[in-house]
């Protein structure tokens, strides 16, 4: 039997300001006089969302900002009610929506454990029993009798998470809480979540922007977009679909034209970048390429002042600015000087080594033997690497292909002893 049943729920909000008492009275008066009412437009935060969750299932909910994820969780946690449709839940729900929501600054850590526990519905006796465990998990022994307002933000979130995860419930609703604290604590939270899921067999609904985390924890994923379920299926397939969609969104948000406004440009003015393009082997401009495709990057520079012994550089970085590769012209291209005017620089890549995803280009120019930087810009052009088969992404995690080769061999002499022992 399904532990959670979501039956065609729709949630509508009215856009715009909530009206004052005066507006409400004026509207009431207009209604009495039979005048037409000016309704504020409706916004559908959720649109006919329908799914079931079986006991013990770990369901991930992903989607862009504003897709309706948090609204959906609010319906499931009974904080808000749908405009149409119904939500049926058979079991106790522990909402981990913004942990530490009920912590009060003036109270000490100890007092807050009891207060927050009661708010989350943990019986007092149980909190007393679990108190030491909660404090130990939050690594708070030293500060437990200090008011929360003196805590660092990480400390109070740690305490909030420790309390929230000790609720004895059948269903856990988790909204972005795994992104709390420092790396070590995030790791600990993640382990605790895995423990709740894998060993205690709880039903979990997880909302996160960390798709890798969702992919790892969840057995099934729902992808929401503008309040509608776009897909609902096995984690890897839905996450791949989401990646492709996000990639497409990032790469179309930037055209091949230079938009230097957000490209972190730094230049002395002696040389300016006028254009950057990626070309395939037929010299067509592209912004989508296949893994291991042969491509040419073409840069058009305008030189305003004579430049002596220029050195060019080009690099590839991820959209979150991890520099993946940098190449210099230093040993391949020796120019004594560049005259003012237009120049075209090409860089050929025989086999583009990066895995499917979105990448960006950076470029720089230095002058002379002292390598004085005269131009540098990053985030110049987004390029999307796509794969022909959908499974590539799930099978080949990572950014770069090693392009190695596998072989198999049975060294008979060494294994004979073992084989005999087994038989």
């Amino acid at each position: 039997m399904a532990i959670i049943e979501v039956n065609h729920i729709t949630k509508e909000y009215r856009l715009g300001q909530l009206q004052s008492l005066r507006h409400s009275l004026q509207r009431a008066a207009a209604r009495l006089r039979g005048q037409p009412l000016l309704e504020r437009p409706l916004f559908k935060a959720l649109d006919d969302v329908d799914f079931k969750v079986e006991a013990g299932e770990v369901l991930g909910i992903i989607g862009h900002n504003g897709a309706g994820k948090s609204t959906l969780l609010k319906m499931l946690a009974q904080i808000s009610v749908p405009t149409r449709g119904s939500v049926k839940i058979h079991g106790k729900v522990a909402p981990l929506i913004e942990v530490g929501a009920g912590l009060i600054g003036d109270l000490t850590g100890r007092e807050n454990v009891f207060l927050n526990g009661a708010i989350l519905g943990i019986p007092k006796a149980e909190i007393r029993r679990k108190f030491d465990e909660i404090v130990a998990f939050a690594e708070m022994e030293e500060f437990i009798d200090t008011p929360i307002k003196r805590y660092s933000s990480g400390m109070s979130v740690r305490l909030g998470f420790a309390i929230a995860t000790s609720v004895a419930s059948d269903i856990l609703i988790v909204d972005e809480v795994l992104a709390v604290g420092d790396l070590a604590f995030q790791r600990k939270c993640f382990d605790r979540m895995e423990d709740l899921i894998k060993r205690q067999g709880k039903t979990v609904l997880l909302v996160s922007h960390n798709i890798r985390q969702v992919e790892r924890l969840c057995s099934r994923v729902i992808l929401l977009n503008k309040g509608r379920i776009i897909s609902n299926g096995p984690a890897s397939a839905v996450c791949t679909q989401f990646y492709e969609a996000s990639d497409a969104r990032i790469s179309t948000s930037k055209s091949t034209d230079l938009e230097l406004a957000n490209s972190n440009e730094w230049a002395t003015g002696e040389i300016l970048l006028r254009g950057i393009e990626i070309l395939d082997t037929n010299s067509n401009v592209i912004n989508k390429l296949r893994h291991e495709q042969t491509v040419r990057i073409q840069l058009r520079y305008e030189v305003t002042k004579k430049i002596h012994t220029p050195i060019f550089g080009i690099g590839v970085h991820t959209t979150d600015f991890i520099y993946l590769a940098t190449e210099h012209s230093i040993n391949q291209l020796t120019l004594d000087y560049l005259d003012p005017g237009q120049h075209v620089l090409t860089f050929d890549i025989p086999s583009f080594p990066f895995m499917p995803g979105v990448y960006s280009l950076r470029a720089g120019v230095a002058e002379g033997n002292a390598a004085r930087t005269i131009f540098y810009a990053e985030n110049l052009l987004h390029l999307q690497v796509v794969s022909d088969n959908a499974e590539d992404r799930t099978w080949n995690e990572g950014l770069v292909a090693l392009s190695g080769s596998w072989s198999y061999d049975t060294p008979l002499l060494h294994l004979t002893g073992k084989t005999h022992a087994n038989s």
Binding site: A101, G102, I104, L115, A118, I119
Partner: protein, 272 residues
């Protein structure tokens, strides 16, 4: 109503903890702490006594400070319980957006928490009575029932007000003004006896006198304050005829108020 009582019983622990939180928070970083609960009625009592020496209010055989202090105990409870109860839902917006539990817990705990201050004031009253050499009669046993009544009267306003306040913050601004007006329409500064004498005996407003008097005691606080003074100071049982109009009003208002609250409750998280 039975279902309401059941959920409240299920959430009794939470209510206890929230009430404890309200009390600790109110006095945690205050140097004088709980003494503030006492300072307010005592100051008002002194001011009223001062005013009384100019205008002359007949308090009968009972010392005026005592009479007005006994009136202030239920009045201050009512005033603070309703105004804090009305603000309680908006004040806990961060919880309402994150966690579900029956929302009436907020106004309810706020009102109930105020009983602590009322208890402290009762102790001060005992001291004052010793000072004036006043022995209470057995009729003082009526007081717990009267306290229950004033709690219900406060709730009948706090529930509705708290729900409306989520939609219209006008309530927060209007309420203090209405409450201070209501104090003058309640026998806090002057005893009910004087009103009765003016309207019922002297018929000061002519044909309207009886109607005005009924209107006056329709205010539940009129009956409550008078009953407090009757049972504690005059050694007499409360006058039912004075209490009845207010009781009928509260009995009618409380279920309506609760219904309004419950109907608005589901949208609190969306609106607050």
């Amino acid at each position: 109503m039975i279902r309401a009582a059941k959920t409240l019983f299920a959430y009794r622990e939470l209510m206890g903890v929230l009430a404890w939180k309200n009390i600790t928070l109110r006095y945690k970083q205050a140097y004088m702490g709980i003494a503030w609960a006492v300072i307010k009625p005592l100051t008002l009592m002194l001011i009223f006594t001062l005013v009384k020496s100019f205008v002359g209010i007949d308090s009968g055989a009972i010392p005026y400070p005592l009479l007005t202090f006994v009136a202030l105990i239920p009045w201050i409870f009512f005033q603070e319980a309703t105004s804090e109860g009305v603000g309680s839902v908006v004040g806990n917006a961060n919880l309402i957006r994150k966690i579900y539990f029956p929302r009436e817990i907020f106004p309810l705990t706020t009102v109930v928490t105020k009983l602590v201050e009322l208890g402290i004031n009762m102790i001060i009253l005992a001291g004052l009575m010793v000072y004036y050499g006043f022995m209470p009669a057995a009729t003082i046993l009526w007081v717990p029932l009267l306290i229950l009544y004033v709690v219900l009267a406060s709730l009948s306003i706090a529930l509705m007000g708290a729900a409306l306040n989520v939609y219209y913050r006008d309530i927060t601004s209007a309420l203090p003004m209405l409450l201070s007006l209501m104090m003058y329409a309640s026998p806090v500064i002057y005893p009910l006896m004087l009103v009765k004498e003016k309207l019922l005996v002297n018929q000061a407003a002519g044909v309207w006198s009886d109607f005005l008097y009924t209107l006056y005691i329709l205010n539940p606080m009129a009956g409550i304050i008078d009953a407090f003074q009757q049972t504690i100071l005059r050694g007499a049982p409360p006058e039912l005829s004075t209490l009845l109009p207010g009781m009928i009003l509260v009995a009618a208002l409380l279920p309506i108020s609760y219904m309004i609250f419950k109907r608005a409750e589901v949208y609190f998280a969306d609106v607050v």
